[in-house]
Amino acid sequence: MDTTGTTGAAADVKPPVLELRAITKFYGEFKAVDDLSFSLQSGSICGFLGPNGAGKTTTIRMILEIIKPTSGTITILGRSSALEVRQRIGYLPEEKGLYKKMKAWSVIAYFATLKGLSRKAARERAYELLERYGLKDFADKPTDALSKGMGQKVQMLASLAHDPEFVILDEPFSGLDPVNQQVMEEVIRDIARRGRTVLFSTHVMQHAERLCDRILLIAKGRKMFEGAISDAKRLLPRRVRLETGDAIAALQALPQVTSAHRLESHNLGPTANGAVEWELELHENADPQAILQTCFSQGIRLKSFNQTDPTLHEVFVRLVGTEAKEAAFR
């Protein structure tokens, strides 16, 4: 497991798209980001995860040079200043907003010109994007006539209009209905398919699980995990769930089983037929088959037997659950 980013043998020929080294940011006395280092390879989709207030937006703002870190260095697309390469970066901020009186196409075109497109090219590109994503009829409407989801789509298109090679999306799914969330996922996959790099923040793990090659998990400004999703899942013990009316002392005695507890989330006490649901946590390299065999040999009658991998959600809760709760009450 490699939590320190790609170094040494893993060094690619290509330099990383983004590299943060020991970034710290203070807001007065408050340490928003604490000694954060990570790097991002080109052509990947990276999920930037963390509970509310973990420092995701602050980090993204520092990457984009909207604010300056208190200490540490950032290299983006080979430069130390994001503004030097602004034409090659696309950014969708967390809080979405558009000029209310401007027409949809002209908002997109305006941001594209700020990213270096000529006025004419920007206009053409705006219409092209709006048509591609089903907003052609709204191109000439002022943005305050659009629904929230449409507005967000327009803003997304605005951040992509100049075809950036590195796209940073801060909470791209928030405020979207399930259908539009799917559309957004599709847009992100589209970007990646064309060899672009995507970094997006979210606290909804399902999106990250479906989209990401890698994730970066932070809490309280500190890095908790960086790496592939499969590696993240390996951080949690393997588990089996079983349902039985019999005693399971024999299973608890097994060396592979580290703990066992009754699941009472949806049923208080035994079910109608007297069965109880158990969850057993296993050692890292344990084979669930061994548990099954023990059940047969010990005469434990099973109503069900499930071997589940931990979800990213569980990884998240396990890794940052306490911090997240603390943050919520701070």
């Binding site: 909207i66 970066i89 809080e95 700020l114």
Partner: protein, 534 residues
Amino acid sequence: MKYALLVAWREYAENAKTKGFWIGLFLMPAILFLSIQVPVWLEEKATPTRYFVLLDQSGSLAPVIESSLERAYQRKMLSALNEYARKYGQALNGTGGTPATPDPLSEFAEGTPRALETFVARGGREHFLVQLQPRLKPGAPTFREPRRVFQRADLPAGISPKAELTAIAEELRPYLRGSTKSAVDGRPVEISAAVLIPPHVDKLIVRPAATPAPGTAAQANTRSPGPPDQIQYWSINASDFSLRSEIEQAVNTEIRRQEYLARGMDGAAIRAVEQTYAAFASLNPKKEKGKEAIDTMDTIKQWAPSGFVYLLWLAIFVIIQMLLNNTIEEKSNRIIEVLLSSVTPGELMMGKLFGIAAIGLTMVGAWMVALFGILSWKSGGASELAGQLLTVLHSSNLVPLFAIYFLLGYLMYSAFILSVGSVCNTIKEAQNYMGVLTMVMMVPLLTMTFIPKDPNGSLARILSWIPLYTPFTMMNRATADPPMIDLIGTLVLLIFSTAVALWMSGKIFRLGILRTGQPPKVIEMLRWVTRRDG
């Protein structure tokens, strides 16, 4: 710089689409047009020809009154003709030098009683126009004679002119109240006034007690003059005295002439005395030697800057509001983040400043075009004021100064606006700060009317040296030849303090624009300014 211009372009294009901009653009010219046009309309239309009944039972005063009214009308005619000649006549044989022959119309040029007399004696309007004819500019419109404001109407049919005045007055009442119409040339007209003169005028004459009436015994002053013993002026319009005073003056002049004659004075001598007058002129020691005379032009020159101060105030106030709205919109919609991932805060601020400045310049530019347009259009015709205003504008540096002070004033106040806009999330939050600004900005509006009376006095000079007020106050003093030190010194100070204010607001802007939550305290903002690094 390229990015600042892109921001500026958007600010310009978007603001140019707002209703506020177009209202601002057209409102001022509309107000100007109306303020020039309405008096003209009023003169032409709103005061209709007024018909009056004149009943003179004495038989001696009616001709005098009529000829006096006629003379008043001829005076008006002459002045209209002079105006017409000034506008459409060319100088006689004159190409720069003095005319080869003396101008035959020059004797009418001044509005003296003598000129009027000559005018009437030579044949009035016809004579004048014949004289003017050869030098009329091609395409000049035909002369339109002024309307007679007062027209005599006959006593309404059915009222006996021989009856008692009290009875006649009683019978005239419904006519004067407007409930019954009389007829002039077969058309029904409203009688707006009636002048009733009793049979024995000499009995009405009031003389000082010590002076006995010539010839007859003096009892006049011993009687208490009741209504039948006075010349009666009947009208429901109690506020308009122009007809009454005209008639009163005519009657009294005639009565005095009769007195003189009764005391044995020579009629010709009396006429000669009546035409004597002393020339009187108001002079201004500040004006060029030989041109010290004060005329309406000087009054206009004194007050025109106040108009520009008002325009300046209005323009600055309107566009700093735009700047505030736009800054807060970007902040409250969080568009600012996308912007700042593309441009630096400095570029953004510059762009906004330029864009809104361009909007403002477009607006005041349109105002100036409208001002000159309307004035030139109107000065060719009905409005004398328009012509004089135009001359003042051409002969002074009001317009260039207006442009300079507009730009500097805008930049000065926008420094404040950008600071406020960057730290506030909503217009509501900004309102607190704007209240202070509005109070500060009220001062030039209040002093606007005082400064022209003493344009180089202490109040004016002190205000001029306060950079916040320099644009308004110096604009106000523009035509009063302020001392050079005031003109240059305040301008340098204004430029310097504007630069400092913008630099300070740049620091606040950079830090404030990304801030969310409560606006910071003023003391905190000052700390941002003094901080070395953002």
